[in-house]
């Protein structure tokens, strides 16, 4: 059974149609890349899958059960997903470590600390756990956001341009961490980017979104 199934999904903002009858299927451990220029609806697609927006038409199913319809959406926290947004979206009143531990309420404190520390170490964020978001560089903030998304080991991973603001060395480091995580925990990955070179290998499906129409 597919973990994610999208059937004829449509979404418009006023007169601008960003998604039109879009369909997709992703089995367990499936890796899907979504390519396209700015404003073509990539982020909208991720928001719809995450349950943060309602579609205008079509349906999203998770494990064969309806999760989003035009009139209803399963709450985002019940979808067992991790998201890296276009901006890091770190909560400014929490330290980096607290941001990462936010989704680990099912673990006891020691286990949550261990998991957060392990992720920070692998992402080159050692010693930055007590820093607040305004004390981090753009690249550090993005890696904290990735650690926050990976920490709960979600079944569905939605990444929106996760390598933005990273230099070549950091890109490779993040890529390696992500690869190890995918191999070990086998989540479904939906990876959004405008850069074709980021998705040249390792993806079973590459979906290209063309752009928007005006209704």
């Amino acid at each position: 059974m597919n973990v994610v199934e999208i059937r004829r999904l449509s979404k418009a903002y006023g007169p601008v149609r960003v998604l039109e009858e879009f369909s997709l299927e992703a089995p367990k451990a499936g890796r899907v890349a979504v390519l396209g220029p700015s404003g073509c609806g990539k982020t909208t697609l991720l928001r719809l899958i995450a349950g943060l927006d309602l579609p205008d038409g079509g349906e999203i199913l998770l494990h064969g059960r309806s999760a989003s319809r035009p009139d209803w959406a399963l709450a985002p926290h019940l979808r067992n997903l991790g998201v890296v947004f276009q901006s890091p979206a770190l909560w400014p009143h929490m330290s980096a470590a607290e941001n990462i531990r936010f989704g680990l309420s099912q673990l006891d404190r020691a286990a949550a600390d261990d998991r957060a520390a392990g992720l920070m170490r692998s992402l080159g964020l050692d010693g930055l756990g007590e820093r607040y978001p305004h004390e981090l560089s753009g690249g550090e903030a993005r890696r904290v956001a990735l650690a926050r998304a990976l920490a709960p080991r979600p079944e569905l991973l939605l990444l929106d341009e996760p390598l933005t603001n990273l230099n070549a060395v950091l890109k490779q480091q993040v890529h390696d961490v992500l690869q190890a995580h995918l191999d070990e925990h086998r989540p479904v990955l939906i990876y959004v980017t405008h850069d074709p070179s980021e998705v040249s290998t390792g993806f079973e499906q590459v979906v290209t979104l063309a752009g928007r129409d005006t209704v």
Binding site: Y13, V18, S38, G39, C40, G41, K42, T43, T44, R47, A50, G51, L52, D53, L54, A73, A75, P76, H77, R79, L81, G82, V83, F85, Q86, S87, P88, A89, L90, W91, P92, H93, F102, G103, S105, Y132, P133, H134, L136, G138, A141, A145, R148, P152, R212
Partner: protein, 538 residues
């Protein structure tokens, strides 16, 4: 990146060469308007002490009866702030997550924010009197009725402030939290902590406004410290004694304002650029929904009681036509004063915003001093204005309709600046930078970029100053020109000397005018905000 480290660009930051003649002149006028009355009071007090009235200084130290009165006032006002903040947050959460096409209605609560508290007192005393809820022998009194009425009077402001506080929480921060926790947890752990600085400052403002009001407690037979000041001036006619007696209130106001400003400066979130905070409706728990419904019921009562009671009293007595005709001059005078205050207040607020919001000048102490007059007892402003203008060579202002205008400006011009500053901070800083890069002439930038982007703030500032001036009583009571009466004075006189049907008719006129200003302001804010919105995330 969403963080507090984003610096606020200024209109003139690069290449700033110091204040020009115009700016100095503006600040001189503004300082004269805001602090002239206080300077006059200080001089009067100094002169009184120099005349040998040293023992008057003891009035500044509350002891015995005055101390317990002060403590009781503080306790009552803390209760008002707590009630309003709790109800305000519940309502704001309900309204905040309402459907987008009703987004403009979020600002409707502000329409009733400027309705004077004594009108609420009249309406609630009528309702509670009929229900025989309070008092012996039909006479309404009691601390709790006073607290409740004051809380109702300030509830629209609390709702508006709570809404603004929630709106400052950026959507991506809410989205990121929603993927891991239920919406109630997101509210407790992310939204409320991020909105806390503004909410706290709002609570402080409500506390101060209720602390300075004596009209509601006096109508319910409750003595409070602010009433003590008015009584002292009425008995002695000595500005110095009234000023010294008010020192504890001034100290509390200054302290609360300082704390509020410090908290706000350290607030760590960026504003939202006009997008809806919830893509999908939030899922609240049953208990929370019940709380929201109870709060919405309180809100409905808050709006309905004055409207229904006043309309009922007016219609049943047929006082509408008998009051409107003779009160025509008072209505026209009040309207003129309110329009003048709004028209003069806006450019003053604009110039103040240029300095306070742009970071050209250090805004800590300057900002604190600038906003302090808002939180000070209104009668003292009136007493200070009389001390300032009732003297030879003062330009013939005393005894004219300009005195209430000056009183309104001294009290409310900072609010116009506050509305503009709030709007300025809502605009993406890059838009100001882009305007600086592409501008040809400064006035063109003002006309084509600043005014359109700040239009919601202009609408909010104008309607706020207009409505508050319309209902201003504390200072107007002292500075009203001889032989002329404003609408509030007429209501106040009738309230104390009988004629409840006439009072109801006049209050209804006041309510409708305030409501019209509020609805117009809210509509303009909503329309301009929508036009300035940068749209949705794609």
């Amino acid at each position: 990146m969403i963080s507090s480290s984003v610096s606020r660009p200024s209109f003139r930051r690069s290449g700033w060469r110091g204040p020009g003649v115009g700016a100095i002149l503006h600040w001189a006028v503004l300082a004269g308007l805001l602090f002239g009355p206080w300077l006059a009071l200080l001089i009067s007090t100094g002169a009184a002490v120099a005349r040998g009235n040293v023992d008057w200084l003891l009035l500044a130290l509350p002891t015995g009866r005055r101390l317990s009165l002060l403590l009781r006032s503080v306790g009552m006002c803390a209760a008002v702030a707590a009630i309003d903040l709790a109800v305000g947050v519940l309502i704001a959460c309900a309204v905040w997550s309402s459907r987008r096409r009703w987004a403009w209605a979020r600002w409707l609560p502000l329409a009733l924010a400027a309705l004077p508290p004594y009108i609420h007192a009249l309406a609630w005393s009528e309702v509670l009197g009929r229900l025989s809820v309070m008092g012996r022998g039909g006479r309404l009194s009691g601390v709790w009725i006073s607290v409740w009425t004051m809380a109702m009077a300030l509830l629209p402001l609390a709702i508006g402030l709570a809404l603004i506080s929630l709106q400052t929480v950026a959507r991506p921060l809410v989205d990121a939290a929603r993927t891991r926790h239920d919406d109630l947890t997101v509210l407790w752990r992310v939204i409320l902590p991020l909105a806390a600085p503004l909410l706290g400052a709002g609570g402080g403002l409500i506390f101060l406004l209720s602390l300075m009001d004596y009209t509601v407690p006096s109508l319910f037979g409750v003595n409070v410290y602010a009433l003590e000041i008015f009584a002292e001036f009425s008995a002695s006619y000595e500005p110095a004694r009234a000023f010294l007696l008010s020192v504890p209130l001034l100290a509390i106001a200054a302290g609360v304002l300082w704390v509020g400003q410090t908290v706000l400066r350290n607030a760590a979130q960026e504003p939202v650029w006009g997008v809806s905070p919830w893509g999908t409706p939030p899922h609240w728990s049953r208990g929370f929904l019940l709380g929201q419904r109870a709060a919405l019921l309180v809100w409905a009562l808050q709006a309905a009681v004055p409207l229904v009671v006043l309309a009922g009293l007016t219609v049943s007595s047929g006082a509408w036509w008998t009051t409107l005709g003779p009160a025509g001059r008072e209505i026209a005078l009040s309207f003129g004063i309110a329009v003048a205050a709004a028209l003069i207040g806006l450019p003053l607020g604009w110039m103040a915003m240029n300095t306070l919001a742009s970071g050209v000048q250090p805004s800590g102490a300057v900002g604190w001093a600038f906003f302090l007059p808002v939180a000070l007892p209104a009668p003292l402003v009136g007493i200070g204005l009389v001390a300032l203008w009732n003297r030879a060579g003062a330009g013939g202002v005393y005894g004219t309709a300009w005195m209430p205008v000056l009183a309104a400006l001294a009290r409310f011009a900072p609010l116009a600046a506050l509305a503009l500053i709030a709007q300025y901070r809502r605009v993406d800083p890059l838009l100001w930078d882009a305007a600086r890069v592409f501008q040809v002439r400064d006035w063109q930038t003002t006309r084509r970029v600043r005014v359109p982007l700040l239009a919601p703030g202009l609408a909010a500032g104008a309607s706020l100053v207009f409505a508050l001036t319309l209902g201003e009583l504390g200072a107007t009571l002292i500075v009203a020109p001889p032989g002329q009466t404003t609408l509030t004075l007429r209501i106040y006189n009738y309230l104390h000397y009988g004629g409840s049907d006439v009072v109801a008719g006049l209050c209804l006129v006041m309510l409708l005018l305030t409501l019209a200003a509020g609805v117009l302001g809210a509509y303009a804010m909503g329309a301009w905000s929508r036009r300035n919105s940068l749209g949705e995330i794609r």
